[in-house]
């Protein structure tokens, strides 16, 4: 099946280091590894950008208002 891919050039020493890093890992090629790392980095950048735009807290944290709503929900269940 065709994939929409482009070629990006990287320095050969880095390529060689990646080859060593992925030995005995789940990455079947340096390309797979590079795609994984870039996807992760871009995802993190996107999350930070959205959070900054919305003034949102970290996903594991609530705003004070949201925290009160959650506490009320837990109280209604008789857990708090």
């Amino acid at each position: 099946m065709l994939e929409s891919r482009v070629t990006v050039k990287i320095p050969r020493p880095i390529y060689r280091k990646i080859q060593l890093v992925i030995e005995h890992s789940g990455f079947s090629s340096p390309t797979d590894f590079i795609v994984f790392v870039l996807r992760d980095l871009l995802g993190e950048a996107e999350r930070k950008s959205h959070a900054a735009a919305a003034g949102a807290p970290h996903p594991e944290e609530f705003s004070p208002h949201d925290l009160e709503n959650v506490k009320q929900k837990l109280k209604n269940l008789g857990y708090l």
Partner: protein, 384 residues
């Protein structure tokens, strides 16, 4: 607080301008109508219950999970979380690098899938490696037979949370259960997974566990199950009746686990444990034939599979239990590990025996099931 799998609790729910942008673009996108399993998966991915997944698996993760029970990056993971192009739909409508709208069967837009990967899967290979069988009588194999053979993978952006019809109050996201545990001061929490009503044997396991941890989360699976499993409504009545009368209120909670059953036995046991870790749970009970069906798996295969991983890799402490029963000799609940009883001294009933008793309106012995639970089950059978 225990860290989520992969170290970060995923949140794929978008809001504000990004949500508006996606809502505006969605009508022009090709769409996939999700089935019950996929809808539950979307909702769980959205709130981090399946961290570190940020969407449906790409081919690289899928191949890695099916082939070596790990995500491509090396983290343990045993069950593919995948989206299939529907049978009869043209796979050509979906392209890598493009977006796809994910909708419920009644046309509600849930999420946008950013397609990174599209591939033809091998149903037999997946069945044999994940479910350990390709027997067409296995419900997981039947599911595979029912779906298309092209998978789409990529991150999702959830624009609308799935609207559940029932038990809204008992549906807590990982960030909410983590808040609960923090507020309660529970440093250690055990989760109990079940798709069945809780009988005395299950109650015993949870209470033995509760002796050594701070809190118990009854976490019944309320996603799609086989048609001959006890319906979710009935099971919930059983859990609530049991909770009301037989558990310490201040140390127990009942929370819906929205995932659909795969009936994958050992593979699914690992999935269940990982997801519970994301909810903030530190200990997980795995009993006899966890997530099994029929006789496809050995009684304790679902415990043995955890031994394939190095200590700490799964990150949740496993509480392995053997079959438990009422012991006539010692006059209490016990297991083969703790009781010298002979077979004749153990009060144990098979699922078939229990179903026959309930159908005839006979209350099973109180040593096997609490009278309140028996009443709920008998009433439910009469009402059918």
């Amino acid at each position: 607080m225990i860290a989520p799998h992969g170290g970060r609790l995923i949140n794929r729910v978008v809001d504000g301008a990004e949500r508006d942008r996606l809502l505006g673009a969605a009508p022009k996108l090709p769409k996939v109508i999700l089935n019950a399993r996929e809808m539950a998966d979307v909702d769980m991915i959205a709130v981090g219950a399946m961290s570190p997944l940020e969407g449906f698996m790409t081919r690289q993760d899928y191949d890695s999970v099916v082939g070596r029970r790990r995500l491509q990056r090396g983290l343990p993971w045993t069950v593919p979380i995948v989206l299939a192009v529907k049978p009869g739909s043209s796979a050509e409508s979906y392209q890598e690098g493009k977006d796809v709208a994910l909708e419920t069967s009644d046309g509600q837009l849930l999420a946008i899938l950013h397609v990174e990967s599209k591939w033809k899967m091998d149903k037999g290979d997946e069945a044999r490696k994940v479910l350990r069988t390709d027997d067409k009588a296995h419900p997981g194999v039947q599911y595979l037979e029912s779906i298309g053979d092209t998978y789409l993978g990529g991150r999702i952006s959830v624009v609308n949370r799935l609207k559940y019809e029932k038990y809204h109050q008992r549906r807590l996201d990982p960030v909410e259960t983590r808040t609960l545990f923090k507020q309660k001061g529970w440093k250690s929490v055990v989760a109990f997974q079940t798709r069945n009503p809780i009988h005395r044997a299950h109650e015993y396991l949870t209470k033995v566990a509760l002796e050594v941890v701070d809190g118990l989360m009854l976490h019944p699976l309320m996603g799609e199950t086989k048609s001959d499993d006890v319906p979710a409504d009935v099971r919930m009545q059983c859990y609530e009746a049991l909770l009301a009368g037989y558990y310490p209120k201040e140390r127990t909670c009942l929370v819906v686990y929205p995932q659909a059953m795969r009936y994958g036995g050992p593979s699914e046991a690992v999935l269940h444990a990982i997801c519970r870790k994301n909810y903030g749970v530190t200990h997980f009970i795995v009993g006899r034939d966890h997530a099994g069906v029929g006789s496809y798996y050995g009684s304790y295969d679902a415990q043995k599979i955890f031994d394939e991983y190095a200590a700490g890799e799964i990150g949740i402490e496993l509480l392995k239990f053997e079959n438990s029963f009422w012991c006539k000799r010692t006059g209490g609940m016990a297991s083969t590990k703790s009781s010298p009883a002979t077979d004749g001294e153990r009060v144990m009933l098979s699922g078939t025996q229990v179903r026959e008793m309930l159908r005839s309106g006979t209350t099973p012995p109180p040593e096997f099931t609490r009278p309140e639970i028996a009443k709920v089950l008998i009433d439910a059978l009469k009402a059918r």
